[in-house]
Amino acid sequence: MAPPIQSAARPEVVSEQIPRRQPAWISLVTSSDHKQVGRMYVATSFFFAAIALTQLVLMRLQLIVPENTFIRPDVFDRLFTPYGVTALLLFALPLAFGLFSVVVPLQIGARGMALPRVHHLSYWLYLFGGLVIYLAFLYRPGEAGTVSLPPLAGEHFLPGHGNDAWIVGVGITLIGFVLFSVNMIATLRGSRAPGMVWRRTPLFSWSAGVVSWTLLLVSPVMIAALTMLMIDRHYDGIFFDPNLGGSPVLYEHLSSIFLAGAYISVVIAAMGAISEILPTFSRQPQFGHGTVAASMAALAPLAVLAWMQNMVAAAIPVGFLYFAMLMALLAAVPAGLVLFNWLGTLSGGALRRGAPLTFALGAIFLTYTGLVGEMVQSIPPVGWQLGNTATAWGDTHAALIGAGVFGGFAALHYWFPKLCGRRMGDQLAGMSFWALFVGAIVMIVPMQMAGLEGMPVDVFKFYEDSGLDALNLIATIGSVIFAIGFLLTMINAAISYNKGVEVGPDPWHGSTLEWFTPSPPPVHNFDLVPDVRSTEPLNDIREAIRSRETRWTPPPARVAEPEATPVAAAGAAEAEDAEAPGSEDEGDGPVA
């Protein structure tokens, strides 16, 4: 019917027949396109975030007054047992994965993931792992605490299948993480644009690599621990049974190694996003690109090697604690260097405002507050004073809320145009930020004080005579404000996804390749991928266009007539570049 298209200018996709139109949701769940999988990762992470938030607020409501009877003790344990994995493994890391999925192939100029089907599978493993954890509620839900520490998690103390569901669910999720990591590493190694050597790789993509290597190495440790626990529970294993020669401390080691890796992965992913946002918004290159990259790569192993700082009271020799302390304190060097370079990036430039920048600054403050707290707690006496108290809870939450929520939201606001071609609303973003920030501070600081008054973590009640009434009341109010702020961003994302302001390829005037392609990007990502010659390929292209226009001297024969035109045009181009490109649909992408 249709006449053959006569065009030699562009490559075209030839198909024997027009593909059948599918409903949007079918194409979403069956596509192994990295952008579709990334969208599903982001959406699912928000689904689990809603669950984690509900758990957090319910737990805080139980602790609003001393000796409250709002929630029964065993129900409280069923709330907080999945809370840790939900917040960390089902929200914070998958949100990072989702943004990695969408952005990294675009940033490195790839057509897609190296192993698209594996990518797709990793998502479904994550989703079903998460659902299996909550399947526990069909049985007697797991009540063994955040890491399911044996012997409490053994069959003798928790005979129900709820804890099995928890173990299997976390295991499936982690297998998904391993597949994601393998895929991301393969993509980064094999699919970078011509000329994009490692030292020119954008920092967000670099952080994706560091996170993937970290999780690839630590996830199997946890999978092994969970398998051993399962063998203990059902197949007469004695790995963790002290009466038959096993050792519960072994499980503490294995789970701490994993948690240290997962924790620092969230932090490094946020560092990667912040390292993209700050240069864009201060209109400067990263102060020291190489240093930041090297620091992120150094931070991961140091933080993982410091795993024993979580075991200050365990039955291990004090020398191990010194080793953990040394690693944790040395981690301050890369963490501090990253911060130093961010400050250097910020301070020289003419700063532009915007939601991504605001969230990034909040993320820096909260994350580093938490990191400093964790590092100081690695000193054994401080750990004995504060370990497993509400103070430690506060530090962990400061770092993970800072990196996971603020860093995640900064990245979400920044790359939202690449998800759907629209921007998130600024007003809601501002309200959400302040609610989250105030809520986080009001929730965390009283808890840090409560720990010094002797409040342990994970308790379902506190006593009237302990002098903790006011602190807990304030923290509960903070958690409600925080939850409202979180909901505002979820609403903002849901509305903006279909109704936000449409933007062009490059709403922020970015300098990396993802801004080279339309928003949202076509299935094949790029019509052509430019050669990369620096860490800022887009600025190179802008520069090339500008210099071509300004330096072009007309041939002598035509001197008389058109001389004025190119100069004026170049002048206009320069003026346009110099002004703050805050207006969103200016879209002055370098699609020359």
């Binding site: 302390m325 054994p380 002797g454």
Partner: protein, 278 residues
């Protein structure tokens, strides 16, 4: 445009500095101070805590101030986005070495204070050895037998639940273990936190140097009753301690005798049930 902003920045910075300068004052009021220590071991722990707190507060305030300054200070030349800086390698090296030096100093200080926490004081006496056993959800303390009540039966060992009574100025060794799951014995005013792990016992020695009652809590999640798993340590004079042991031993003996009497008479609840079962 930039002058008022700078004023706001300066105001915000000075306010936050003031707010944090109040921190030591409130600390005196006890807001950020742990329970005051009652042993040289806890002294060392808390001194290290204060050092850590001051270092981290300084770092956090520094970060906040630097961020505010970077955000509110306008670039010297707003119309020149082309103005580019590259991080000089020497600056990076200096910052890295500086942070590393602070970290290493903190590491050494940390080791010094960790070693000090095992200081048991000047007393030359042999430490009193007390068995501490955690179980869901209580603490059981078994004292060494008092000399004059010894009749050769280990079952006469005085014991107590929840409340530990120890003499002042005497080295105490706690052998901490568990019969079921992992617990953590934590009385911050006296000594370090110790995990009670089933299958092995961990020891900790300290000397309480001030009479009084010190609260402790279990800080390792152990099941539904975990929040109720508290303990209290009563540090008393040597005489009171001996009196306590005698009283405990007498009480335990009396209770056992009373039960035996009932068993012999066939009126003990268990016996009655058994007979009813027949």
């Amino acid at each position: 445009m930039s002058a008022p902003r700078r004023k706001v920045a300066a105001l915000a910075a000075s306010l936050s500095v003031c707010a944090l300068a109040i921190a030591p004052a409130t600390a005196a009021a006890g807001a950020i101070a742990p329970e005051s220590p009652a042993s040289s071991s806890a002294d060392a722990t808390q001194t290290m805590y204060w050092i850590g707190l001051v270092v981290s507060l300084v770092v956090i305030v520094g970060i906040a101030a630097a961020l505010l300054r970077a955000v509110f200070k306008r670039g010297s030349d707003e119309d020149e986005p082309e103005h580019r800086t590259r991080g000089a390698a020497s600056a990076q090296r200096r910052v890295g070495i500086g942070i590393g030096a602070v970290a290493l100093v903190l590491f050494v200080v940390g080791i010094v204070f960790t070693e000090r926490t095992s200081d048991v004081g000047a007393s030359e006496a042999d430490p009193i050895s007390i068995e501490v056993t955690g179980q869901q959800w209580l603490w059981r303390y078994e004292y060494p037998e008092a000399d004059d009540t010894s009749d050769g039966f280990s079952t006469d060992t005085p014991y107590s639940y929840y409340d530990l009574v120890i003499p002042v100025d005497t080295p105490i060794t706690l052998n901490i273990g568990s019969t079921d799951v992992i617990h953590r014995w934590w009385v911050p005013a006296l000594t370090r936190a110790v995990d009670a792990v089933p299958g092995a016992r961990q020891s900790v020695t300290f000397t309480a140097d001030e009479e009084g009652t010190y609260d402790g809590r279990s800080t390792e999640f152990s099941g539904p009753g975990y929040a109720t798993m508290r303990t209290a340590v009563h540090v008393v004079s040597e005489d009171e301690y001996q009196a306590f042991l005698k009283e405990r031993t007498a009480d335990i003996k009396a209770a056992r005798a009373a039960i035996q009497e009932k068993v012999d008479a066939g009126t003990a609840p268990g016996v009655a049930l058994e007979e009813a079962g027949k």
